[in-house]
């Protein structure tokens, strides 16, 4: 595709629900990143994949957060038993060359 595509754009979840956020990277991009952006804050790193390998998950805030990229292309960020503090915009970025990350428009998650 022309850019990084994220779906859904908006998600409202009741506290305790599980959610799955999808990221379609630019075709051919080896690296894929997930970031969390709380209201009024800068994005914070969650996790990083190179192809299907998850090389860094140091930013995942708890074991309720899980990310996968089984075929080295599409990635899914799953949040189990959502809590209000999970409300944020979740950004996905992909890159072919290092330090050339392209960001999607994000998924705005609201937990009520």
């Amino acid at each position: 595709g022309a850019g990084v595509s994220q779906s859904p754009r908006y998600k409202v979840a009741k506290r305790g629900q599980d959610v799955a956020l999808r990221c379609d990277p630019i075709s051919g991009h080896v690296s894929l990143f997930w970031y969390q952006q709380a209201l009024g804050q800068g994005p914070e790193f969650l996790t990083y994949f190179q192809n299907e390998a998850q090389l860094d998950k140091s930013g995942l805030p708890s074991d309720r957060f899980f990310a996968e990229r089984p075929e080295g292309s599409v990635s899914t960020l799953k949040i189990q038993r959502t809590q209000q503090e999970d409300s944020a915009v979740y950004l996905c970025a992909s890159s072919k060359a290092i330090y050339e990350a392209f960001f999607g428009q994000g998924t705005r998650l609201t937990v009520v």
Binding site: Y35, G40, G42, D56, L91, I98, Y99, F103, G104
Partner: protein, 114 residues
């Protein structure tokens, strides 16, 4: 570990005036530096980056930033702003051994008034 501080959360400025958005970083290793821009309801876009070489880097729309190692700064400047420059600007750093992982500042909201 790296960290980024953007010293101004909001910068209001009149059209055609100059502007400087300040960014300081801390790191125990060499870093690469970036400025991203986020227009309302859009994703982050890379504005410019410093990887090596000339410490002064420029974007295609008139912004420039200068890497100052001694002051650990990477301030963003534009000599004359337009209404269309109104956006949120994020400074970010990345260490060389982290695969491109970015550490962002809190952001600076640039508001250009007519």
């Amino acid at each position: 570990a790296q960290s980024v501080t953007q010293l101004d959360s909001q910068v209001p400025v009149f059209e055609e005036a100059p502007v400087e958005l300040r960014c300081n970083y801390s790191s125990s290793v060499s870093v690469y530096l970036f400025w991203y821009v986020q227009y309302p309801n859009q994703g982050l876009q890379l504005l410019l980056k410093y990887l090596s070489g000339s410490t002064l880097v420029e974007s295609i729309n008139g912004f420039e930033a200068e890497f100052n190692k001694s002051q650990t700064s990477f301030h963003l400047r534009k000599p004359s702003v337009h209404i269309s420059d109104t956006a949120e600007y994020f400074c970010a750093v990345s260490a060389g051994n982290q695969g491109g992982k970015l550490i962002f500042g809190q952001g600076t909201e640039l508001s250009v008034k007519p």
